[in-house]
Subunit: 334 residues, 2 copies
Amino acid sequence: MDRSVGIREVAEAARVSVGTVSNVLNKPDRVSQATLDRVLGVMDGLGFVRNGLARQLRMGTGTTLGMIVLNVANPFFADLAHACEAAGERVGQTVVLGSSDQLEAREDRYLDLFEEQRVRGMLVAPLDGITPRMRQLRARGMPFVLFDIHGDPGFCSITLDGRAGGAMVARHLIETGRRHIAFLGGPRHQVEDRWLGAQDVCAGNQGVRLSHVDTRDQTIAEGRAAGAVIEAMAPSERPDAVFAANDLLALGLLQALVLAEDIRVPEDIAIVGYDDIDYAQSAVVPLSTVRQSTELLAERAIELVLAESNDPEHEHQQLRLPPELLVRESSAPR
Amino acid sequence: MDRSVGIREVAEAARVSVGTVSNVLNKPDRVSQATLDRVLGVMDGLGFVRNGLARQLRMGTGTTLGMIVLNVANPFFADLAHACEAAGERVGQTVVLGSSDQLEAREDRYLDLFEEQRVRGMLVAPLDGITPRMRQLRARGMPFVLFDIHGDPGFCSITLDGRAGGAMVARHLIETGRRHIAFLGGPRHQVEDRWLGAQDVCAGNQGVRLSHVDTRDQTIAEGRAAGAVIEAMAPSERPDAVFAANDLLALGLLQALVLAEDIRVPEDIAIVGYDDIDYAQSAVVPLSTVRQSTELLAERAIELVLAESNDPEHEHQQLRLPPELLVRESSAPR
DNA sequence: TGTCAAAGATGAAACGTTTCAAGTAGGCTA
DNA sequence: TAGCCTACTTGAAACGTTTCATCTTTGACA
């Protein structure tokens, strides 16, 4: 295989200068129809493929965005990544994905890699807040958009309004007649906003009790464990509604309760999850949940990062998008 | 951006030549300790980050692998992608991911993009066989590894032995006393090997009946629909085991049957799925399934693509990895 | 006929690296 | 002292593009 047929070889074969070939590629309207056809023909014949690296090196600015996500295996992040990819494509950007796997070392590795690769900007769902590494990148001018971290004036960020979501859920449960809501989820700081939202609403309602069931993380297994705990309670002590901090917890809980002899869902206990992962509506009892539109999130994120890239003086924005409550069978009124 | 501090600026500030700076980066042992320290110090002070584009342009060969996957939202592919990323990292390669979303246009777009980006090789789970575009790339010398497409001598490929997997499942079901196995899944050509494996075994066993229930695709919804069909059958006509072509189908089916009054799983009907997605073991009745180790798959794939990249004369290999049967409660002996 | 503008085409200079043949000091041996 | 090794350094030439200040051609107009 005669390696490397470049713009140079094309130029030679088409008997024009390299500048013209470049124009064929980038500003076809500045080239006469005749040469344009001839050059395109030659390109085709030689199997020319423009070298994106050289192009970007010369131009100084590329068309690639780096995205770092906590864990691709988590359906929410998979969806989000997917949505970002699609949103990026719509505006001619390519999103490349890295999974930090909840490890700071990997998060850093991808930050370094993307910087070396001179990506145009980064979309990051940070492991544990804003690290010094990120501030350094930001200071050097790298456009950044953070997911789920709010309020730092030095960064653009885009968050889902968990507090509003939590409030929605609590309101819905109270309105459908529930009086004892258990909030299921932990570690505390990861789910705090949802909890606060629920608290806001419950505090304003006489006769409504809100309790908290902690979990180590947010998996089906933990949800199921919580189910066992609830099942073991005296019926009078049991909550009549559970607001789970995410769908996995809710699904685990649901499984445990469905198998319990004397508990029916939603009659005895209503369940509401959070995230609307694919499986939520496919559950034994379709799960009520809070949907955070990944499409919308992605679109805004791409918008922000490009804005920052185009105008370094741009003013950082902290977006907070309201979620949407999806009522399904698991919290149907009795 | 911090006005591009490159190797040149570093050289100047450290009072050495650019060649030396480059050596500090790439062959530190050829540089005296004193200069090495000094140069590293300057780099740190100036916040130098080497430009990977220029580097790759000059070196001609990069460290990036392109991966195209049918759909990141599918847990199996998400796992696979993740495993490839990890396996790549172990040998110093970065895997960038694109999702074809089951659209040929997107598949092509990523092929083009990766070629322009001069990736070192590609890992592809093809939409619908080997396209002319791929052959063209291959002919130009691009290293390729295909997933799930077998037997083309022009390509390396790596497949899971679905036929062996199907046989395993059928054998297991028969050994635990089942006599009427329904194979659930379609479209036909996508699941054929698993079906054939089951057939191989059943054909050799007197008194065992194997039937086929077709589906449009392999989702929970289709599985649940199939559940309704089975429930509607006369009990004597019902299969006593279902082998679902993937876990989503199996989960849908399971949900439908669990809710049916007169059918118990696994007592009346055993269910076995395929893929071992995360949710399989978390299902109401933990799902027996066939596991295809994505780690192993990924490791081999990376190995192959690098081998092909290092030695263009290399002989293509068609690997076929045997899967592993995981017996859980959904097919426990009665 | 002479002038001028518009439209096309040119080619050398970047972009930030790596590579490599060639150069410079010392120190060791004879 | 000359000669030679070893251990570092050097600087210019790529890599494949895009950019841009200049040329050349053509045709319209006075």
